[in-house]
Amino acid sequence: MQEKIIFKKEIPKLVKELTKEYILYAPKNVKGNIEYKRVNDGKDIELEFLNSKVPPKEIVFPRMETMFTYTRNGKNIEIQKSKKVEDKNIIFGIRPCDAHSFVLLEQFFNFGEFKDDLFLNKRKNTILMGIGCNTPRNTCFCTSLEGHPFKKDDMDIFMVDLDDRYVVTPISDTGKEIIKRLSWLVDAKEEDLEKAIELSKKAESMISTTLEIQDSYDFLDSEFSDPIWKEISETCMGCGSCSFLCPTCTCFDVIDEEDQYNNRGRRMRIWDTCQFCLYSLHTSGHNPRDSSIERCRNRILHKFSYYPTNYNLIGCVGCGRCIQLCPVNNDLRVILRKLNEIQKKEEKTIVA
């Protein structure tokens, strides 16, 4: 299907049309932070942005989600399952790395016989309408993870920013249908397409970090108690910034809240992270990941060893959020380089 053009001044019109049928989430400037929030007016959308601070996973995997509620009536307990959400969502302006993170999230929530209905239902009803990254940040390293600032495979509709207009390419069937319905869109000209390709190349060249990530799996398995982990985790304070704001982190905690004065309660799930001491604490009081060494190791291993083993995909999309937001500047790129270095040394000794 042919690419279309939408002018930036037409965005409010687009929003108006899409919000008739869908709930639209778009980047919004909330007190200086870019976040994907529900938008009803095209003027609220922040089109000039690098990437959001809170990843868009929040829309399909919220910080806090009620699984069911119950009411108590004497000895009887009645459970009300949370209603199946049939709202259709569109995430406008999602970046390619975050769109890829949705693939990773699906792997986790749809693994084997364990299906997470809450997540999968929301995911099924969510359409990704992404924009390529014209100016990747200096912490971005998606190209090292088979990603690309203009990767469109994971989206339904892909757009390229050409200053005053977007080139719109429908990718999936749903995307094609939506574009078909927007009959007022004009066809893209040859020169626009050429410009888009040019921008894509330019963006790729702007990514300065290259990491060899593929090779590190073996090392991560065999050298579980290498002193390098202590070096890496030494300054870690154990806050959850890196994992809470990671687009691929999926851990959650299930908690029960009871409102005993009104005879009711609810079970909910909230974000959790392996960086907290409570995360792996057993009822007996034993904690297998007692110090930051084990916790930091778990975070890295989970993304670069367990994910590849279980799902054949690397659990990182290279968005660079953890690098930007770490309070002690514990840089993931530096960590990976250190690990690669050690691995090379290992290999040499084996050969010798």
């Binding site: 509620t69 809240e257 409102d259 005993q260 004065y261 009711r264 609810r266």
Partner: protein, 149 residues
Amino acid sequence: MNEVITEKAQKEDWEPKIIAFLCNWCSYAGADLAGVSRIQYPSNIRIVRVPCSGRLNPFFIIRSLVDGWDGVLVSGCHPGDCHYISGNLVARRRFAILNDLLEFFGIEPGRVNFMWASAAEGERFAVLVRKTTEIVKKLGPNEKFKKQW
């Protein structure tokens, strides 16, 4: 906004529920004395007996507000009379800070009240409970910490 609530509350005959933490050695006995002496005080308070006002963790007070109590009353021995010598003096410092901080976060002054009453002051206990009830009644229901279910 409070006035709206109060109006509505008065219409519907709303009565506040107040949780009272009373020290075992003084105020609890004071409340008892008030009862024995047939001094009437409002039935809005529900009493929790604690070994000393110093036993009160500020958590108890905040948690009470979260749980939806409209008011909190804490009563201990007069300074110098503590059964454990200094429990109420330590508690006083804690309460001072807690009170200021609650106010700073926008909890109406008067939601949480502190008082001293000895075992011999049944009359004083009744008067202060009456006063507390009046204050809390005026403030209306405690809805700030209400969760969205």
